[in-house]
Symmetry: C2
Subunit: 399 residues, 2 copies
C-alpha cells in the first residue's frame, strides 16, 4: 500500500548562525510527534488526573507511548447532570494534562440525543434549542486553546426517528429537520471558534449519511472533517467494506476521521442485535484466539486507513477492556496487561511509520530528508532545533 | 375520512349590475373543474393530436371525462434524439390541445439518467452540464404559459450510483453530488419561469429521500412540491404504508404530488425483482379478479390521498393497459373498454367530490355555498358568470 503522502522528501540546508553552510556533517533527524492523528479514547485520564494512583498512571503512561490524540467525554447528561453546574474543572484539568503531554484533544459530543440532560425535557423546543446553542458557546469558547476539535453533533441520521425513549434533542431535530439542526449547531460552534476542527459523526455509513453530508455542504455547514464510527463488535468489516466506505465518503474531498473504532478480542456479538447497547452480558472475556484475530484485524485496518490520502485520524474507542458493553475491545486487558494489538500498533506508530535517522550534508550544506510528517528535533553535535516536517519545500535551518 | 379542506363554505351575495341584491332567488352552482389535480399520463394524446383517428379519439375523450391534469413526456433521448433537433412542435401542439380542454400539463422530466440522450456522452462533464442547463432554458422558456409545471429532476437518490449503463447524467451527478446537481437544475428552471411549479420526483420513499429533500431545502433549492412515485406492480402498499409515507413527507410542510401511481389488474410482479424494468414478459393480461382488486385498491388510495391536506395531485401513470412493461395498469383495457376502476374514479371525481347544486338567496341577496374547490359557473335564470371557489371569504357577484 502506498503511503508516500504520509512522508516528506525534503531538501534542507544546514547553516551556522552566520548563514555559512555546514558541509559534510552528520545530522540527526529525530521524530517527536506524528502529523497523523493516532487517537484513542482518553476517558481513563480523568481518574488519574483527578486522583492519581500508580495503577492508573500505568494505564495512562502506556497510552501516551502510542497515541498523540485523545477523545474526552462531554456527554451533556454527565457533564451537566444538574442544570447550571457543568463539570468544567475536571475536563479542563484532564485536557490540559493531555495537551502538556503532546496530545491533541477532541471533545465528544456537543449535541446528541443519547446521554442527554434529562432536565432539558421540561422546556419547550425553542428553549431547548437556545440552551443547546448556549451550551456550545460555553464549551467551545471555554476550552478554546486547549480543545480546538469537537464532535459537534452525533448520529443525526437516526436522531429524529430515535424512539427508544423521549429526549430533548430528538424533539428539536424532529422539528428543525436533520440539516436544519446540524446547521444551527455547526454555525454556532464555528462562530465561537473559527479555527476549530468541527466534525459531523455517525455510525450510519449507508447512503443516508452520504446524502446528509451532501445536503449539509450545499447548505453551507462548516464541516471540517467527516467522522465515521466503526464499532465492529459484530465482526470485522473486512477490507472490501472498509475500502468501499472510504471510496464513497471520499467523494466530498473532505478529511475523513475514523472516530470510534472497535475490534474485539473475544466472542463476536450476534448479528441480529441492531442497537449494540441491547447486548448486555455479565462478562465478555478476552481470549487468546480472539487476541490473535484482533491484532490481525487492527493491523489490516490501520494500514488501509493510513494509506488513504483523505484519512487524517483513527481513534480506537476503548483503550482498556471492559469499558463500553464490557467488551474485550481494548489494547490492554482488564488486569492492565498489554495485548498483542498494543505491541503491534506501537511498532507501527513508533517504528515502521516513525523516522529516527541520520543524514549527511553535502559540500553546500544540503541534505535530503525522507521522513514521516510530524514534529522533529534536528541535531548537529550538541546543538538541536525543533522543526515541523510537513511538506517538500526546501528549507534552511541555522544552528 | 375528513375532506373538509377540499371544500369551501362560502357566503356569496348576488346583485344586479346596479349593486341591488337579488333576493329570494334560486341560483345554480355548477362545477366546471377541480382545484385538486386529478392526473393521468397523457402520452396517448400525442398520436391523436398529430394523426387523429376515431379509435384514438375515443381514448382521449374518455380520458378527458375524468382528468384535469396530464403528464407529457420530455425524455431527452426521445425529445432530442439528434442533437439540435428537438421535437418541440409535437409536444407544443399536444400540450396546447390539453390546455384548450381545461387540462393542466406537466412536463416530465427535464433531467434524468434514464432515456437520456446518448449523444451527450461524447462531451466532457462541464459541457454536459452546460447542455443540460441550456436544455432547461429551452423547454421551460419555450413552453411557458402552456406548461408551467415540471418534474425538474427525476430519481436522484439512485442517480449517482446507477450502474446499469453509462450515461451523461449519472456522470455529472457523481461529480457535483446529488444536492449540487439538484440545485443547478432547479435554480435554472426557476430563473426561466419563476411562477412555475417545480417538482423533485423519486420512487425511493425511504429515509434517503427525506434526507435529500431536507438538504435541498436547507440549501435553498426552490422546490414547489414533493413528487412521490408509487408504481405498485408488486402489490398494493396498503393503507398503513401509504399513511406512513404521507406522515414522513409531510414534515416539510410542502405540497405533495403522487406523480406516478400504478395499481394493476392482473398478476402481481414477483417481489424479488428490484428494478421493475427487469420484468420483461410477452403478455400481461388483465383478469376479472385483478380488475376487482384494482378498483378497491385505487378507491382506497384516492380516498386516503384526497383526505390528506398536503396532497395536491394524484397522477395515475398509464391510462391504457399495455403501456409500460405491458402491465394491465390502466383504467381502460387493451381493446379500449373501460374497467371498473374507470367507472369508480369517474364517480368519485365527477359525482361524489363534485358540486352541482342550487341555493336560494335571502332577502339581502346572500346565499351560503358548500362546494368542492374549483371553477364554477353560477347561473341565475338565463344569466351566468364564471367564478373560482377557492376559499371561504365572502364574495359579491353581480349579474
Amino acid at each position: 500500500m502506498d503511503i508516500k503522502h504520509r512522508k516528506v522528501n525534503k531538501r534542507i540546508r544546514i547553516t551556522d548562525k552566520n548563514n555559512r553552510p555546514l558541509s559534510d556533517l552528520e545530522i540527526g533527524i529525530h521524530q517527536k510527534n506524528h502529523s497523523f492523528l493516532f487517537g484513542c479514547g482518553a476517558f481513563d485520564f480523568i481518574p488519574y488526573v483527578m486522583e492519581g494512583g500508580e495503577s492508573q498512571k500505568q494505564i495512562t503512561d502506556s497510552w501516551l507511548e502510542i497515541f498523540n490524540y485523545g477523545t474526552l467525554p462531554f456527554y451533556w447528561g454527565n457533564y451537566e447532570s444538574e442544570e447550571g453546574k457543568p463539570n468544567k474543572d475536571v475536563l479542563m484539568k484532564t485536557a490540559q494534562y493531555l495537551v502538556d503531554n503532546g496530545v491533541r484533544v477532541k471533545g465528544h459530543p456537543l449535541c446528541w440525543h443519547t446521554v442527554c440532560a434529562d432536565w432539558l425535557m421540561k422546556y419547550d423546543n425553542e428553549t431547548i434549542l437556545k440552551k443547546q446553542l448556549e451550551r456550545i458557546d460555553r464549551e467551545v469558547t471555554g476550552f478554546k486553546g486547549v480543545i480546538d476539535m469537537w464532535d459537534v453533533i452525533n448520529e443525526v441520521v437516526i436522531m429524529p426517528i430515535f424512539d427508544k425513549y423521549d429526549n430533548a434533542i430528538t424533539r428539536i431535530c424532529k422539528e428543525k429537520g436533520r440539516v436544519g439542526l446540524i446547521k444551527e449547531v455547526f454555525d454556532r460552534a464555528h462562530a465561537d471558534n473559527p479555527d476549530a476542527i468541527l466534525l459531523l459523526n455517525d455510525f450510519n455509513t449507508s447512503i443516508n449519511y452520504e446524502i446528509l453530508i451532501d445536503g449539509c455542504l450545499n447548505a453551507g455547514v462548516p464541516i471540517s472533517a467527516i467522522g465515521i464510527q466503526s464499532h465492529q463488535h459484530q465482526g470485522y468489516w473486512g477490507k472490501d467494506k472498509l475500502c468501499e466506505v472510504l471510496e464513497r465518503f471520499s467523494h466530498f474531498g473532505l478529511p475523513i476521521h475514523f472516530t470510534e473504532n472497535t475490534l474485539i478480542s473475544g466472542d463476536i456479538m450476534p448479528g441480529h442485535i441492531v442497537d449494540l447497547n441491547d447486548w448486555q452480558v455479565d462478562e465478555w472475556p478476552s481470549t487468546p484466539e480472539g487476541e490473535e484475530r484482533q491484532v490481525k484485524e487492527i493491523e489490516e485496518m490501520y494500514r488501509i486507513l493510513f494509506s488513504h490520502p483523505l484519512v487524517e485520524a483513527i481513534t480506537t474507542w476503548d483503550y482498556k477492556d471492559g469499558a463500553w458493553l464490557k467488551a474485550p475491545s481494548g489494547f490492554i486487558r482488564l488486569d492492565g496487561s498489554k495485548k498483542p494489538s498494543y505491541e503491534m500498533l506501537k511498532k507501527l506508530v513508533k517504528d515502521e511509520w516513525w523516522t529516527d535517522t541520520k543524514v549527511k550534508t553535502d559540500e553546500n550544506g544540503w541534505a535530503t530528508v525522507d521522513a514521516f510528517k510530524g514534529k522533529y528535533v534536528i541535531t548537529v553535535g550538541e546543538k538541536s532545533v525543533e522543526v515541523d516536517l510537513e511538506n517538500n519545500s526546501e528549507e534552511v535551518i541555522s544552528l
